[in-house]
């Protein structure tokens, strides 16, 4: 049995929630969504300088606070709840964790301090055609030479924050092997084109690399990319449960005040029971996301299955919760003015980010050797 959700976590949650209430309220989310979902640079700086959020999962020797996946999960849950718009997931959950999962102290020293102090944004692109960590889906190639140590060529079709990240960690093929490369996005060999997805609150770009100068990252053991994927996935599950929880809260608040047939609609069992079922799903998802993070933090071999369990469960819970939220708001829920569609958009796209629930169940069945 793992114990670990402590009062310090409650305090961290409270600080982040208060901050986001001010900086990521629905009006602000809509403004940022209209601006291409790149995020607010002033808020980004405050997150780094006042709250130290970018350095949360970064070791102290690289300017971070040296906490880990569990604390990151707490932050991600709050970001998901607030529909925060900005490159936190890509920079911290994807890139910073990928760097710490690798064995390359030179790369860590080069990038992590700048991530922690908020001066560098980053992202990770492993699969060519998907948003996951599937290394069999890598046709992008890396070659030696060309003025730089390495060059990378190919196209990553869906990269989260691929249009704004300063650093892109790219998986590329060297013969039969797949390696991870650090690519400075600010060069002529890198061309990003925004991809419009259903989710207007999260930026995705298609990124084309043409002999882009790159530095190879020493990943250490062969499992490093998979481990980086698990760390990102556990954090993302927490983000999804935060969103699911917010959508349910919205439903419940509305069901308390909306009167039909001379009573609040929340007094009807047809509504109550579905809300109760959502709570069952969401609270179980919250347990799952926390345990996945805790097991990964401990380096427990159960971490991989627990992560896929959390991923499959939390994505489903969020999708369901966001859809019910639209339904329970009735005609109002179908309007642009109601925030329900923002959660529906985020949830639906999130379902396939880092692997669809079906893919995670396949992985679980494989790991269980069913």
């Amino acid at each position: 049995m793992i114990t670990g959700w402590s009062e310090e976590h409650d305090q961290l949650r409270e600080v982040v929630r208060r901050f986001l209430l001010e900086k990521s309220n629905p009006e602000r989310v809509r403004e940022l969504a209209d601006g291409g979902a790149a995020g607010d640079p002033a808020v980004w700086r405050q997150m780094a300088e006042q709250l130290g959020l970018q350095g949360l999962a970064v070791p102290e020797q690289y300017g971070g606070t040296g906490m880990g996946p569990v604390e990151l999960g707490v932050v991600m849950e709050e970001l998901g709840r607030a529909l925060y718009v900005g490159p936190y997931f890509s920079t911290v959950a994807l890139a910073a964790q990928a760097l710490t999962a690798c064995a390359d102290t030179t790369a860590q020293a080069a990038f992590l301090p700048r991530i922690a102090d908020g001066s560098l944004t980053a992202t990770v692109a492993v699969s060519d055609t998907d948003l996951g960590f599937d290394t069999t889906d890598v046709a992008t190639t890396a070659e030696r030479g060309g003025g730089a140590e390495w060059t990378v060529s190919g196209t990553k079709r869906y990269v989260v924050d691929g249009g704004t990240a300063g650093l892109i960690l790219v998986a590329a093929r060297i013969g039969d092997e797949v390696g991870l490369f650090a690519v400075d996005a600010d060069q002529s060999g890198v061309r990003a084109t925004p991809v419009e997805t259903l989710d207007i609150t999260r930026a995705v770009a298609s990124v084309e690399f043409t002999d882009a100068a790159a530095t190879r990252i020493d990943t250490g053991d062969a499992d490093a990319i998979a481990r980086a994927g698990d760390l990102a996935t556990a954090a993302f599950a927490a983000e999804q449960i935060g969103g699911a929880s917010a959508a349910l809260d919205m439903t419940v608040e509305y069901a308390k005040i909306r009167v039909q047939f001379e009573r609040p609609i929340g007094s009807f069992q047809a509504i109550k029971h579905r809300c109760a079922d959502l709570l069952v799903q969401i609270e179980s998802g919250r347990s799952a996301a926390f345990y996945a993070a805790a097991l990964l933090a401990d380096g427990d071999p159960e971490g991989a299955i627990a992560t896929s369990a959390a991923a499959a469960w939390c994505a489903t819970a969020y999708a369901k919760s966001s859809r019910e939220n639209v339904q329970f708001h009735g005609g109002i829920g179908y309007t642009w003015e109601c925030d329900a569609h923002l959660y529906l958009r985020r949830a639906t796209v999130s379902t396939i980010v880092l692997g669809a629930p079906t893919a995670h169940r396949v992985r679980i069945a494989d790991l269980m050797e069913v």
């Binding site: 049995m1 793992i2 114990t3 670990g4 959700w5 402590s6 009062e7 349910l248 419940v252 069901a255 308390k256 009573r263 609040p264 929340g266 007094s267 009807f268 069992q269 509504i271 109550k272 029971h273 809300c275 109760a276 079922d277 709570l279 069952v280 609270e283 179980s284 998802g285 919250r286 347990s287 799952a288 926390f290 345990y291 299955i305 627990a306 369990a309 499959a312 469960w313 079906t358 169940r361 396949v362 679980i364 069945a365 269980m368 069913v370």
Partner: protein, 396 residues
């Protein structure tokens, strides 16, 4: 009864030492093989619980003054884990986690003295007499009456769904002392000896074909006023007294239990070569996720109790989560087995003695007993989410 108390300095002992001590005791005093004959089994359970009580090795959550171990919550969890490992038989009777705290909280010193030790020692087997034919989920509609005559109540009426009612020495019941219209304001908590004249217990054959329940009829049964817990007409608030912490530890036991059952089902999938069927793999993976989440939920509740002293939101949802899981798991198993799945345990063709089919039938009760799932959902919606009460339902 003689009590052989071992003096242990609990504060000086570490968790690991405590675990080792408990484990050693269970190993040295193992309950032995479970007899097949129902009467022998009953005696075997009672004897083991008596030996645990006499050695001060039972009642982990109970205060020491009432014969328990008075352990901290973290130690209770360790105790439960070791008890599960040693396969300690569950106590006979039902609702001990409900009646014991009620007596501890509302009973007189004489009542505590008279009932708590014998309850823990299994000298007396207790059963819950709440439900009636017309009062299940709507418990305040109950009609069994108790009329006061001097130092006695005269009880008339009928209880039903009394689990293991045929084994009981004592019933803890709710009876009507006020008018029918007074609903929960006219209910009294009464403890009734099963051998009182005027009581008829009739086993009730259930959907599984066996008799796990009984109907209990009261015909001018005399019950001493001393057997009343709390005041007359004020029994209703006592209904909700229970050991919440014990439930949390119980949820962990269920998670462990279903881990084993799912592993057995996965073995069956492999044996039958069904593991290559993508739909079956997907369903199994989903059950795998849920059996883990059951454990994570239970761990989280336990963590919350240890850190914050309160079980938190996860505890209110874990029962619905488990009941949905256990029903769907058995439904899937029966379907997966095809024709072999519908063969009952008496037949030679039955797979694993028909256990999956029996589980399918038996778990129909999971979403009915101890409050239907619909009532559970109402409770979660109102008490956790704060949704408004259904005007058709009585106030809580």
């Amino acid at each position: 009864m003689a009590q052989q108390t071992t003096s242990v300095d609990h504060d000086a002992e570490t968790d690991d030492e405590f675990r080792a001590r408990i484990r050693r005791w269970f190993a040295e005093n193992a309950p032995g093989r479970r007899p097949r004959d129902p009467n022998e089994r009953k005696a075997w359970v009672r004897a083991f619980h008596a030996s645990m009580y006499d050695a001060r090795m039972t009642g982990p959550s109970w205060p020491v003054e009432y014969g328990g171990m008075g352990l901290s919550f973290a130690r209770q969890v360790i105790y439960q884990e070791e008890a599960a490992r040693a396969r300690v038989p569950s106590p006979l009777g039902t609702g001990l986690g409900i009646v014991a705290p009620t007596i501890i909280k509302y009973g007189t010193p004489e009542q505590r003295e008279r009932w708590l030790g014998p309850m823990l020692r299994q000298d007396l087997i207790w059963c819950q007499g709440y439900s009636e034919p017309g009062a299940g989920s709507d418990l305040p509609a109950l009609r069994t009456t108790a009329r006061r005559e001097g130092d006695m109540y005269i009880v008339n009426g009928q209880k039903v769904w009394t689990t293991h009612g045929s084994d009981a020495d004592v019933f803890f019941t709710l009876v009507r002392t006020g008018t029918q219209e007074s609903r929960q304001k006219g209910i009294t908590y009464l403890i009734i000896d099963a051998d009182s004249p005027g009581i008829t217990v009739r086993p009730l054959r259930d959907i599984t074909g066996a008799a796990h329940f009984a109907e209990v009829f009261f015909d001018d049964v005399e019950v001493p006023v001393d057997n009343r817990i709390g005041e007359e007409n004020e029994g209703w608030p006592l209904v909700r007294t229970s050991l919440g912490h014990e439930r949390a530890a119980g949820a962990m036991n269920q998670a462990t239990n279903y881990r084993r059952i799912l592993d057995e089902l996965i073995d069956l999938v492999r044996e039958r070569g069904l593991g290559s069927d993508l739909i079956i793999r997907d369903r199994i993976a989903d059950f795998e996720i849920r059996v883990r989440l059951m454990k994570y939920n239970a761990s989280r509740v336990i963590n919350d109790i240890i850190v914050r002293g309160e079980p938190g939101a996860a505890s209110s949802v874990s029962r619905l989560f488990i009941t949905m899981f256990e029903q769907e798991l058995h439904e899937f198993a029966v379907e997966m087995l095809g024709a072999d799945g519908i063969v009952t345990r008496g037949s030679d063709l039955a797979v694993q003695k028909g256990r999956w089919l029996m589980g399918f039938i038996a778990t129909r009760a999971s979403t009915i007993g101890a409050g239907t799932s619909e009532i559970q959902r109402n409770t979660i919606a109102e008490q956790v989410l704060g949704l408004p009460r259904d005007p058709a339902m009585p106030a809580r």
